[in-house]
Symmetry: C2
DNA sequence: ACTTAATCATAGCTAAGGCCTATCCTTTAA
DNA sequence: TTAAAGGATAGGCCTTAGCTATGATTAAGT
């Protein structure tokens, strides 16, 4: 295998037409350059340089190969400058995965700050269900996930971002709408509207509800929180909504969002990455930025 | 300085996504590849690979640098294949310098054989006076000269090709035209037409003539042998012509070419190269070819 | 839950070779 | 004839790419 250093020596000889000066320009001794060049010639099986006392000149083969050598060295230079450009850990593309019950309500709160904190990062947003996101994270298609933490994610590395309370969404005139000291036990025997299978919110929320004695309304399942919200608004039932999803609609005149007393049902939102993920500095900056953005929004 | 081997390791990892297999494809042990890749990462200051048991993947930086690495390796490959193509010592361009009093008369005899013997050599022919040719040979603009050997060429390397006799060119009715046992001494007191200054033939031929007591016709000097020949044909004088120049016109009905008795005046035509010239095999082939071509033409 | 297999990292060693200094040899200039 | 210039040669140092053997961690199978 040819060595880049040898190509530098060759081009230096071409430039200076003098072994001593060429060696100097490469910061090596004259015998070193002389010897390496001879080795190169031997290796290639052709003479590259004609040696005379007064006059060092390249053979035709040498001339031709110098041109090739310069191309190689230029490519190598590009490699190195490319590496240098990549050195900034706070630059480049970053693919962020979120679940559908979180993305539209969280992103408005965090993206502005993220773009300020990491101006050279291009964020690509991916919305998918947990299972798909984890798969894609594992495959490297995604870099960072933000989603409710689950046990099955312990093979990844995760950073707790915030606990999102679940709120009770009812029509304003529902009996639970104005109840003081609302607690999960109040859901006993209530029928709860839920999202379609696959949404982790369903599993989590219904987990709380079931343990409180509530029942799932099996008549149909919504495919998005907005559908769910409209179903509540039109009096088809009640449901649990994550606080961020509720927040933007607090002023709704048909839906009431009830806050539970302690123990407040929450979903713990975490940032999840692969262990050994290469851009930890970036990750730490994201964690800090998101926590700061939500400070005051989520108590 | 980056090393090409490391770039190979990097691309191998990209290809196989597996250290062991990548190492195998590079014909090294797994620890070797592993270690070198880590060194490369350290050197660049950035992580190129995410290591997992199941799943080795490149970081975004790694992806980008693999592309650059491939470019470098491709250029290096071109360098090597270019070198391989140049390996054939009997291929490439060759710049051949000849003097004007030799080129038009010699080339028809040798070029066909040269092209047969060295079919992959492209001959470029340069016609100039000795001094210019030597200068250009020294500068590397020319590779090989064919010309009358002179003392001043001893700093170069030369190969005697043949001795070209000088013949006496006269009108057919000149008193020397039919003289038997023609010798140089017969030129005593004759006026000899000569070429312009700078042509080595003038110096050589006149050297013979002067020592024989002949005189130079200073009234004018020809710039080519053909001019000289026409001057002889029209009765303006006599001259010495090299045998090859005479040969093609032996049948001329106005000019008689007289052959001298021993000691025959000759000019010794040699092939001249720079010492250490890189394509000696080619040179030897040329020498052999030319000698063979002239065998029988020049006794 | 324990074991086995897979896979990458680590440790320690060897050998090659890149680089150095010192010197030699040849050519050119004074 | 000597001195200077310029490339080649000689011998030694020291880095490092490569090896084998082993460790550590994870995944999967019993």
């Amino acid at each position: 295998m040819i060595k880049l250093r040898d190509l530098e020596y060759l081009t230096a000889i071409d430039k200076h037409k003098h072994f001593g000066k060429a060696a100097q320009s490469c910061f090596v001794s004259q015998p070193t350059l002389s010897g390496q060049l001879m080795k190169l010639e031997e290796q290639l099986g052709l003479q590259l340089v004609e040696r005379h006392r007064r006059n060092v000149m390249l053979t035709p083969a040498g001339e031709q190969l110098v041109k090739e050598a310069r191309k190689v060295l230029q490519a190598a230079g590009q490699f190195e400058s490319c590496a240098k450009a990549l050195l900034d850990p706070f630059a480049g593309d970053l693919h962020l995965g979120l679940i559908p019950t979180l993305a539209p309500y969280l992103l408005p709160h965090i993206m502005a700050d993220l773009n300020t904190a990491l101006p050279n990062i291009n964020f690509f947003l991916h919305e998918n269900q947990t299972k798909v996101l984890l798969q894609q994270l594992d495959e490297g298609k995604l870099d960072v996930l933000i989603l409710p933490y689950l046990e099955e994610m312990d093979k990844f590395e995760s950073y707790q971002l915030f606990d999102e309370p679940l709120m009770l969404a009812t029509q304003k005139n529902h009996r639970l709408a104005n109840k003081k000291d609302l607690s999960l036990s109040d859901l006993h025997d209530e029928k709860i509207l839920t999202l379609a299978d696959g949404h982790c919110l369903k599993d989590q929320a219904m987990g709380y509800c079931f343990s409180a004695g509530a029942k799932e309304d099996n008549s149909f399942q919504a495919t998005s929180l907005e559908t769910l919200r409209h179903m509540v608004a039109s009096g088809m039932g009640i449901t649990l909504l994550p606080a961020l999803a509720a927040q933007g609609n607090l002023a709704s005149d048909t839906i009431h969002y009830g806050q539970f007393q302690a123990p407040v049902p929450v979903r713990g939102i975490s940032l999840v990455i692969r262990p050994n993920y290469s851009r930890m500095q970036c990750v730490r900056a994201i964690v800090a930025s998101v926590r700061k953005s939500l400070n005051g929004i989520i108590t």
